[in-house]
């Protein structure tokens, strides 16, 4: 069986699909809390949302170690990422440039990933948190750069205490991880610069 038969296809037109995916991510992280979406151009491997897989296709390569949950690390998602992006998968969350976590799972905490250091805060992990929905959940409101006043988000399927983790992450500023919530083709950026105003 050819490898293409086992591994679902990635981008059919890498130049323009990467560009479009990047622009959606750029808007997501520069206008935190806004719902951005990627095209449904690819068939993601089992365990990765279309938005997650598209973001990694656009950004990850042999220069960016990726952390996956144990349930995905030995499955088709890992094979798919190695094949399409040439990424190295790492066991230590603190070494990851990108990480994918299940928003409902209790571990690992955001604090397990690399927050950068005070001279190079850019050397931090970007954590893609897969959730069951990007609206209709218990809401909380955001403020900070990219947000005129405040902006509400209401993702579904986040573990209890996740907003506290976000708040603790924001308190590290300018250090901290940058979070992208992903579900289906949608995503919401929550960079470290975003303050969690109140949870409800």
């Amino acid at each position: 069986m050819a490898i293409q038969d086992i591994i679902s296809p990635g981008f059919s037109d890498p130049v323009f699909q990467s560009q479009a995916a990047f622009r959606a991510l750029l808007t997501a992280l520069s206008e935190p809390g806004t719902l951005q979406s990627v095209a449904a151009d690819i068939i993601p491997p089992e365990g990765l949302a279309t938005a997650t897989a598209t973001a990694l296709l656009a950004l990850a390569d042999y220069e960016t170690p990726v952390w996956l949950p144990e349930t995905l690390r030995d499955g088709p998602a890992a094979t798919w990422l190695r094949f399409h992006c040439g990424v190295a998968l790492v066991d230590d969350p603190a070494r990851a440039a990108f990480a994918v976590i299940d928003g409902a799972a209790s571990e690992p905490k955001l604090a397990a990933f690399n927050p950068g250091n005070d001279q190079f805060p850019d050397r931090s992990t970007t954590v893609i948190v897969q959730v069951s929905g990007l609206d209709g959940g218990a809401g909380f409101s955001l403020s900070g750069p990219g947000i005129p006043g405040t902006r509400r988000v209401a993702p579904q399927g986040l573990r209890p205490g996740f907003t506290d983790e976000l708040r603790q992450n924001g308190a590290l500023y300018p250090l901290g991880v940058d979070v992208v919530l992903a579900s289906g083709e949608g995503m919401i950026g929550l960079p470290r610069s975003t303050q969690i105003e109140e949870a409800r």
Binding site: F16, Q19, F22, D61, P121, D122, G146
Partner: protein, 307 residues
């Protein structure tokens, strides 16, 4: 046919869309995402050697190349004008390598690459400003060593900058920095706004547009997300002030724009005209007439065309 479409058997090399290879674009895109997450912090990036000279906009060009796609409309300005030689050269580069749709109209552009100015027309949500930056480090003139300035930013040690500004006030009665006037971003990082006149600094504060800064030779990228606090450094007893002129634009009569001084004879004759060429043309098309428009048309400085 543009260069990136050239067939492989052509004798000329076929370049990738927007010149940069995809691996390089990914590297720049990752740096840009970190830059928007930490507004005003200078992200080091693996700046590539470009076919245009260092110091001539290679940082801005690399950012634009990483951003641009078929849905974009690109405007390129230098000194506020679309027809300055380097702006023409950079616009042609993207027309050749990325089939870029270009425009001189500020409101039509999705990406505006600029050197030394922010357009006068208010920027909108969804637009991206790309600034060409020669010296990204606002502390460099106070401390030449990168190893030291990096620590100063890490610890938010900006006392030296305050002292420098205050010395200027003690000597001249005001801060004598007229361009590249340092700003405090999101209450955390002191940032160079690039060599725009301080007249343009207030436009950065809470702008609805995304603002990206590229320094190719110095290999740094930084950013201001939309709606980010950008405060020009000042003192309570010496608040920040912008330039003003005693007369309006000689061509369109605008009294609210940054003016260039044009020497018109060798007897001290001067004319002041908008530095933003598109703004000036738009106003004239709307029927605004400056005091010297007739003379300027007669001397060939502007020409009359049929609409």
């Amino acid at each position: 046919m543009t260069v990136h479409q050239m067939p492989a058997d052509n004798t000329k090399p076929a370049y990738n869309y927007a010149y940069l290879d995809e691996q390089t674009k990914r590297m720049i895109r990752r740096a840009l995402l970190k830059a928007v997450a930490v507004p005003g912090y200078q992200v080091p990036f693996g700046s590539r050697e470009m076919p245009l000279a260092r110091g001539w906009g290679t940082g801005g060009i690399q950012i634009t190349a990483a951003l641009i796609g078929p849905a974009d409309t690109l405007k390129v300005i230098d000194q506020g004008a679309d027809d300055t030689t380097n702006a023409v050269s950079i616009r042609k580069f993207f027309e050749r390598t990325a089939d870029a749709r270009t425009s001189e109209a500020t409101e039509e552009a999705t990406i505006i690459q600029t050197r030394h100015r922010i357009p006068e027309a208010p920027l909108k949500s969804g637009q991206v400003m790309v600034y060409q930056v020669p010296m990204p480090e606002p502390l460099r003139k106070l401390e030449p060593r990168e190893a030291e300035t990096r620590k100063m930013h890490a610890w938010a040690e900006y006392g030296l900058m305050q002292v420098k500004l205050y010395e200027s006030i003690a000597r001249f009665g005001e801060v004598t920095t007229t361009y590249d006037y340092p700003v405090m971003v999101n209450g955390r990082y002191v940032m160079s706004p690039s060599p725009i006149p301080k007249f343009d600094n207030p436009k950065m504060h809470m702008s609805p547009a995304l603002q990206l800064f590229g320094a190719g030779r110095e290999k740094r990228i930084y950013a201001l997300p939309p709606y980010t606090s950008v405060k020009s450094l000042d003192f309570e007893d010496h608040p920040f002030r912008i330039q003003s002129w005693s007369q309006p634009c000689g061509l369109c009569g605008a009294a609210d724009s940054y003016l260039d001084e044009v020497v018109i004879d060798d007897r001290g004759g001067r004319m002041f005209v908008c530095s933003d060429s598109h703004y000036c043309e738009t106003r004239r098309a709307e029927g605004h007439r400056g005091a010297m428009l007739g003379d300027a048309a007669a001397s060939g400085l502007v020409e009359e065309t049929n609409p």
